[in-house]
């Protein structure tokens, strides 16, 4: 596996399919001659790769001390309450999966989160509420 980099292959599949299913990994396994156990091992090592079906929007809330100092815990509680899930789960309507990450490098605009990889910064509960509403609207249209 020198010519093509496994991480990039896995990302491409996830970009397309939303997550790394058993079926997709088996395809990769055959094409690049990598054992399934190894693919699963690699995929589960990296938190941004997912082996289970995800909500339409994957929210990654930053849990760094900088964000904690800027009240990210309030955002966390709000998300759990609003979406009726706990961190690590997917909302019933399959729209949102919420995770906490170590640091997304937006400490100067804390608190911050990524939604499908795009950063949202200087969050307040009010702002997060608006963001969720907008995402819901986009999902329905």
């Amino acid at each position: 596996m020198k010519d093509k980099l496994l991480l990039n292959i896995l990302h491409e599949v996830q970009d397309k399919e939303g997550y790394l299913s058993e079926k997709s990994l088996k395809k990769i396994s055959v094409e690049y001659n990598i054992p399934m156990s190894k693919l699963y091992s690699v995929a589960t090592f990296y938190t941004m790769l997912r082996t289970k079906k995800q909500g339409k929007y994957v929210i990654e809330l930053c849990g760094s001390p900088s964000c904690v100092l800027n009240k990210s815990r309030e955002i966390e509680k709000f998300l759990e309450r609003e979406l009726k899930i706990e961190i690590g789960e997917t909302s019933k309507d399959d729209l949102f999966s919420v995770y906490k990450t170590s640091c997304i490098g937006c400490c100067d605009e804390a608190p911050a989160m990524l939604v499908n990889g795009e950063p949202y910064t200087k969050l307040t509960v009010k702002r997060v509420k608006e963001i969720l509403e907008e995402l819901r609207k986009n999902a329905n249209s």
Binding site: F45, T47, M48, S66, S102, A110
Partner: protein
């Protein structure tokens, strides 16, 4: 800011003109050290890799900064990426490498498309016959560690390996491999081109309870009072945390900030990141959030880090639940020290700094919870 100076491929032109050896000489003379924290002379690193007999050598740009409180590499990626690519190309030229990688942390993936375009542009202009591939990181802090990044690029779990062999001797696919981070590579053409280039200018990531968080450039030894004057605390500052690795310390306005004061020399990853912590916070709270970072980011390979970091989190949680006695604090200290002493890589070896320093300077905050 020195780091924003553009070099417009002038550095590469110069490098090719003077030749490999001369480039190494200049970089050594200009005292360019690695900006990942260790400050190891760049020229020495390159020289080692160049000295290994091999049919192939690789250059990796480490764009996987991920220590909480650190965002200066992102600042460069956004504002002076062309110069960084030039640094990468100079490294490739000196090392006769044909293949370069930029390991971009997954959290910065939204920058990728723009970076790819710029890579194309610069490569075309440079007329160098090398490839620069972006490796898409995927949320693993440990991949900022040099042996883990290599494992990750090769398609493995990003677990740290013990050294030796050092990557400069046997790295990617067993070939000599040079790893430099974004800031370091950006400095390379700047150091070559600008006579007045100053090796002591460093990027600082400032965040926390301040009115003007952001990336700043100061000379090593800068006074804490200078920093505070600029970033403007929004409340009385009780402590500062040097990223996650450097520990939590009281703020002394008269003190100066240098490599030594940040990590006391025992921290490998410490970039100049300062998180200012205001008076209303309990330090145990902050410690817990840092401890959670370690439990989340440990690669899981070695026992003390895998099993120990979660125990530190559990102990801190227990302390916060107020159901503890001083024995638990002793246990916390014992294992914070133990994990540091016996872990395989830099992550485990510094994962107790915040606990040990806060126990030293802010014992009061802990004692509040004691029965």
């Amino acid at each position: 800011m020195q780091i924003l100076r553009e070099t417009k491929l002038e550095g590469l032109r110069l490098a090719r003109k003077v030749g490999r050896q001369k480039v190494l000489e200049i970089l050594l003379k200009k005292k360019l050290g690695g900006r990942g924290g260790a400050n190891f002379p760049v020229a020495k690193k390159w020289e080692t890799a160049l000295g290994v007999k091999a049919d192939e050598r690789y250059v990796i740009c480490n764009a996987d900064e991920g220590e909480p409180g650190t965002f200066k590499d992102k600042f460069i990626l956004k504002n002076n990426f062309e110069t960084m690519i030039e640094g990468l190309l100079i490294a490739a030229y000196v090392l006769r490498a044909k293949r370069c990688f930029i390991y971009l942390r997954g959290e910065y993936d939204y920058l990728r498309e723009e970076l790819e375009e710029k890579i194309k542009e610069v490569l075309e202009k440079s007329k160098m016959k090398v490839s620069i591939e972006i490796v898409r990181g995927a949320g693993a802090y440990i991949c900022g560690e040099e042996t883990a990044i290599i494992q990750s690029i090769m398609g493995n779990r990003g677990s740290s390996m013990y050294k030796p062999p050092h990557p400069t001797i046997s790295g990617l696919w067993g070939k000599p491999t040079v790893l430099n981070n974004v800031e370091t590579l950006t400095c390379v053409p700047q150091a070559l081109v600008y006579e007045d280039w100053n090796p002591d200018y460093r990027l600082f990531s400032i965040s926390g309870d301040v009115n003007h968080p952001g990336v700043y450039e100061w000379e090593l030894g800068v006074k804490m009072s200078t920093i505070l004057d600029v970033v403007k605390p929004r409340e009385k500052i009780k402590a500062m945390s040097f990223g996650c690795f450097g520990g939590i310390m009281p703020v002394k306005k008269s003190s100066s900030v240098s490599q030594e004061t940040i990590c006391k020399g025992n921290c490998q990853h410490g970039a100049f990141s300062i998180i200012f912590i205001g008076e209303r916070h309990n330090i145990v709270d902050i410690c817990l959030s840092i401890a959670k970072f370690y439990t989340y980011e440990s690669c899981g390979k070695c026992t003390p880090c895998r099993e120990g970091t979660i125990r530190l989190v559990n102990l801190l949680k227990k302390i916060k639940s107020k159901k503890v006695n001083e024995g638990d604090i002793k246990l916390l200290k014992e294992f914070a020290e133990h994990i540091q002493e016996t872990s395989l890589c830099g992550l485990g070896q510094s994962c107790g700094n915040h606990i040990l320093t806060s126990l030293k300077y802010f014992k009061k905050d802990y004692m509040r919870y004691i029965k």
